[in-house]
């Protein structure tokens, strides 16, 4: 399946855009998505940390990703 991943903050700079499309196998997990992105965009690994959000909730590494999910990369937050 093809997943459109939303990017914010420095992730947007790393991906070179506000979204990036990733090809994943069905039943892929958050960890699979991270691995795929880190392969394509090694700078992700230099971040202090980053999280994946699925449908507006922080996702565990073991969480499954489905085709219609809203998926986003959440680099270290710095609001306030």
């Amino acid at each position: 399946m093809e997943i459109t991943v939303l990017a914010f903050g420095i992730a947007k700079d790393i991906f070179g855009g506000a979204t990036v499309t990733v090809g994943l196998t069905n039943n892929a997990t958050t960890a699979d998505l991270k691995a795929s992105l880190e392969e394509k965009y090694p700078k992700l690994k230099h971040l202090a940390s980053y999280m994946v959000a699925v449908n507006n909730e922080y996702a565990e590494d073991s969480g499954l990703i489905a085709e219609r999910d809203e998926v986003a990369i959440i680099p270290p937050v710095s609001g306030g």
Binding site: F8, G9, I10, A53, I74, P75, P76, S78, G79, G80
Partner: protein, 139 residues
Amino acid sequence: MQTQIEIHTAPLNIQACTDWIMSPDSGGIDVFIGTVRNVTKGRAVLKLEFEAYNKMAINEIKKITKQAFEKWPVQKVLVHHRTGTLQIGEIPVIIAVSAAHRAAAFDACRYIIDSLKQTVPIWKKEFFEDGEVWVAAHP
């Protein structure tokens, strides 16, 4: 349990926040106002840019305010956050909490800003004379 959670591109309005938070049954109100400082770690800051993942940010702020209501006897909680380009002295965030007694208002207000900075998907970019940086992005 009344909350007002908003993310604005226009300048935040302190008076509108305090007008909303005041009520006849509250005795103490604590308001935290974040402002853009002209310096960070000794470097002169020219401006800031804030970006939010709006829907999720509102979601996460709601969780924090819910926790505040569970932890302290507070009456109303307001969180306004700004996005876009902010000049020195402008206001990225206003948090206001009312309670019958002031201790709860202070505790909850501080808890909310501390938590917001940890979990809410909002990002800040600092602009310097000689470059720009997403805050906290790198170790």
